[in-house]
C-alpha cells in the first residue's frame, strides 16, 4: 500500500517487501499511537495546580507495574510477527536461489556500471556476449541470476523498483536473482559511497517483452554488429 503508492513494483518479490513494510507500519504504529496518546494526555491532565501535591508512586506497586508488564505482551507478539515475516522475505530474496533462465554479469567501478549480457546463445562468457555501459537489458517474466563484481571499491547494485539492493565487493563475485514483472525503463543507483563520483553513476535497467528483448539481443550481438560493419 505505502511503498507501491510511491514507486512502481517491478519484480516478483517487490510485493512481498511492500506487504512487509505495511505490516510493520501497522504493528509499530499501534504502540506508537497508544504511547503518544498516554504521553500527551498525562502532560495535560497532570499540569501543576496550585497547592495540589503529586502522587507518590514508587513504580514497584503491583497495581501500577502490571500495566508495564501487560504492555510487553503485545510488543513481544508484534516482534514475533515482524521477525517471522521479515525472515521469510529475506529467505526468498537473499538466501534462496531459484533456477534461472538467464544470467547477467554486473560490474561496478569508479564511476560506471558495465553489464555483460549472454548474447544469442544465452551462455555467459562466450564470444557472443553483449557488453553495455550504464544500461542493462532484460526481458520481463524471466528469472535472472546476476553476478555482481567490483573492480575497485565497494559499490551497491540497487534497483528500487525491484526493491533489490546488494553490495559489490572487490575480490568477490556475489550471485543473486530477480525476475522482472513489467516492462519499462527504470533507474539503477549506486547505494554505497564510492568516491567523488558516487552521485554521478546513474544507470538504467531496460525491461522489454521477451520478443523485443530477443530482437535487441539479435541486433547487438557482436556477430551482428560485425556483419553490419562489414557491409
Amino acid at each position: 500500500m505505502i511503498l507501491d503508492s510511491l514507486l512502481p513494483s517491478a519484480s516478483t518479490y517487490a510485493a512481498d517487501i511492500n506487504q512487509l513494510f505495511d505490516v510493520i507500519t501497522l504493528l509499530v504504529g499501534i504502540p506508537f499511537l497508544v504511547a503518544s496518546f498516554l504521553f500527551f494526555s498525562f502532560i495535560f491532565r497532570f499540569k501543576a495546580k496550585g497547592g495540589q501535591k503529586a502522587m507518590y508512586i514508587t513504580g514497584t506497586e503491583h497495581q501500577y507495574m502490571k500495566w508495564i508488564h501487560r504492555a510487553h505482551v503485545p510488543i513481544l507478539v508484534f516482534d514475533v510477527i515482524i521477525v517471522v515475516m521479515a525472515v521469510n522475505v529475506w529467505y526468498r530474496v537473499k538466501q534462496d536461489l531459484p533456477e534461472a533462465s538467464s544470467t547477467v554479469r554486473v560490474i561496478a567501478q569508479q564511476w560506471a556500471w558495465s553489464f555483460v549480457h549472454p548474447g544469442p546463445d544465452n551462455v555467459l562468457d562466450t564470444a557472443d556476449d553483449i557488453t553495455t555501459v550504464n544500461e542493462l537489458h532484460v526481458a520481463a517474466n524471466t528469472l535472472y541470476h546476476y553476478k555482481l563484481e567490483s573492480l575497485d571499491v565497494l559499490h551497491n547494485f540497487s534497483v528500487p523498483v525491484f526493491r533489490l539492493k546488494q553490495d559489490a565487493i572487490p575480490g568477490r563475485i556475489i550471485t543473486g536473482w530477480f525476475e522482472p514483472t513489467m516492462t519499462g525503463t527504470f533507474d539503477i543507483q549506486c547505494a554505497e559511497i564510492c568516491g567523488i563520483g558516487h552521485g554521478l553513476m546513474p544507470a538504467k535497467i531496460v525491461i522489454e517483452s521477451s520478443e523485443q528483448h530477443a530482437a535487441w539481443v539479435e541486433q547487438n550481438s557482436p556477430f551482428a554488429v560485425a556483419a553490419l560493419a562489414a557491409n
Binding site: 505505502i2 511503498l3 510511491l6 514507486l7 517487501i17 512487509l20 513494510f21 509499530v28 504502540p31 506508537f32 504511547a35 503518544s36 498516554l38 504521553f39 498525562f42 502532560i43 497532570f46 499540569k47 501543576a48 501535591k53 503529586a54 502522587m55 508512586i57 514508587t58 513504580g59 501500577y64 500495566w67 508495564i68 510487553h72 516482534d79 521477525v83 515475516m85 521479515a86 525472515v87 522475505v89 529475506w90 529467505y91 530474496v93 575497485d152 571499491v153 565497494l154 551497491n156 523498483v161 546488494q166 553490495d167 565487493i169 572487490p170 575480490g171 568477490r172 533507474d187 543507483q189 547505494a191 554505497e192 559511497i193 568516491g195 567523488i196 558516487h198 552521485g199 554521478l200 546513474p202
Partner: protein, 572 residues
Amino acid sequence: MAESIRVEHAAHHDDHHGHHEMSFLEKYVFPLDHKMIAMQYMFTGMFMALIGGFFAYAFRWQIAFPGTEAPFWGQVSPADYNSLVTNHGSIMIFWVAMPVLIAAFGNYLIPLMIGADDMVFPKLNRLSYQIFLLSALIILASFFVEGGAFGGAWTAYPPLSTKAEYSLTPLGSTMWITAVALEFVAFLLGGINFITTAMNSRAPGMKMWDIPMVVWMIVIASILFMLSVGPLLAGGIMMLFDQNLGTAFFDPDRGGDPILWQHLFWFFGHPEVYVVLLPAVGIVAEIITVFARKKLFGYKTVLYTAIGTGVLSFTVWAHHQFIAGIDPRMANVFTVTTLLISVPIAEMMFVYIATLYGGSITLSTPMLWALSFIFEFLIGGITGIFLGASGNDIYMHDTYFVLAHFHYTFYPIAIIGTYAGFTFWFPKMFGRMMNDKLGKLHFWLTIIPFNTIFLPLFVLGAAGHHRRIFDYRNFPELSYPWMWDLQALATYSLIVMLLAQVIFFYNVITSWISGPVAPKNPWNSNTLEWTATSPPPHGNWPEGLPTVYRGPYEYSHPDRKSSDYWPQNEPA
C-alpha cells in the same frame, strides 16, 4: 579499598586547594577542577556543533538547489559534498555527542551528584581533554591540507578509505582516522575516571540505589564504550598501516578483507549509539522527576533496562551489514537480536511516561526539552524496527529512511538532551538564571524545524532516495517535483533551525552576565549538586562534604509535610 582511595584522593586535593592564588593558565587553560574541564568539553563540543551544523547547511543547500551557489560557501563540488557529509557525521558523533554528553555532563555532574570534591584522577582528566582537543584540531585541519578532507563517509569503509587512488584524499584519510583514534584514547581515559569516581568517591551514606540515574547512565555508558572500542581502535591502527605502511589488512587484492573493517566498526558503532543514548536518558530522568514532582517510576527498572539494552547492544551490529555481502543466514540471527532490543527500550519509554502519571507538571524550558526527548526518541525507536527487519532492509538500506531514523535518535540525544541538561544545570554552572521566555522561543524554533527537516526525509527514503547522492537530477525517478519540494522544505527548515541557535547563545551570554542571581536550589531539587553554592567553588563543598540519607527522587513523599521535596542530604 574504597576507603583508602578516598583518603588518598582527599589528601591530594588538600594539597592543590592550598594554592589559592591560581594563575589564569592554571585555572582556565590547564585546570584540574572537574567543573572547569567539563566547561572546556562543553564549549568545545558546542563549537564543533556549530561547525557540523554549518556543514549540514552547505550540503543540504546543494541537495535541494543543485548547481546553485550556497551563500557563505559557494559552489559545492562533488568532492566538497563528500567531505562535508563525512565530517558532518563524524564531528556530530565523535566531537559533539561524546564530549558534551559523556565528558561535559559526566565531569560536571558525577562529583557534584555523588558528593565528592573532584574526580579520582584529576590529572588523567586534564590529559583526556588535551588529547580530545588535539583530535578536534586534527579533524578541522584536514580541510586545509592537499587533497582536502576525507570524503568516504563516517563509516570509512575500505578500500575507499585505505587507498588514496580511490579516495583522492591521501592526507585527509589519514588525518581522519588519526583524529578518531585519538578521540577514542581521550574517552578511554575519561571513562576510567568516571567509573572509578562513581564507585569509590560517593558521599557517606550514598548506597548503590541512592545514586542519581544520570550518574548510573554515564557509568554504564562508559563501561559500554570501554568494552566496545578496543576492536575498533585496533581496526583504526590496521587502517593507518594500510594507508601508510603498505599492509593489506583490508585489501582484497592482497588477501585482506574489506568486510572485516565493517565488523570492527559496527561492533563498536552500535553500542556507541547507546553510549550516547544513556547519558541523555539519565538527564531526562533528573528533569522529569523534578518538574513533575514525582519519584522516578521504578528506579531499578530503569537501571535494569539500561543494562539490558547495553548488553544486547553488543549482539546486533550486523544489522548495518545485512546486504553488505555477509553470509545471508547471519541476517536471521541479527534480525532477532535487533527486534529483541525493542523490548527493554520500550520498557524504558513506558517507565518515563508512567513517571508523568499523577505528577504536578510545570512546563519550564528544561522540562519542554526533556519531554520532547521522549516523544522524538519514540519516533526514532519505532523506525528502527523497519530497518531491523532484514527483509525490509533490503529495500530501505542506505536510503533517507535510515538517515531520518538515526536523526530521530541522535538529534534527541545530542541536541535535545544537551539543551535539556544545559538549561537545567545552567543556574548551578554559572550562578545565574536563564531567561525562560527566550528559552521557550528557542525551544519551539528548534523543535518544529527539526521535525520538518526529517519527517519529509522518511517519505523520500521510502520513495527510494539514496543517501550521499550529490545531485539527484541525474536520477529521473528521484526528480519528481514533489520530491524537490520536500527537499527544499528540509533545507529551509534547517536554515531556520540554525538561525534559531542565535537566540540560545544570546540567552546564554546575557543571562551569564546579567541574569537574576541563582539561589542554591532554584528548582527545589533533591540531589546533592543543589546543596553546593551556585556556582560551586573548587572542591565543591569547602565547608565539608555532604552525607546522604535517602534516594534522589523522594518528591511529594506523604511523610514529608513541610514541602514536596526531600533533599538527599537532609537528616531524617
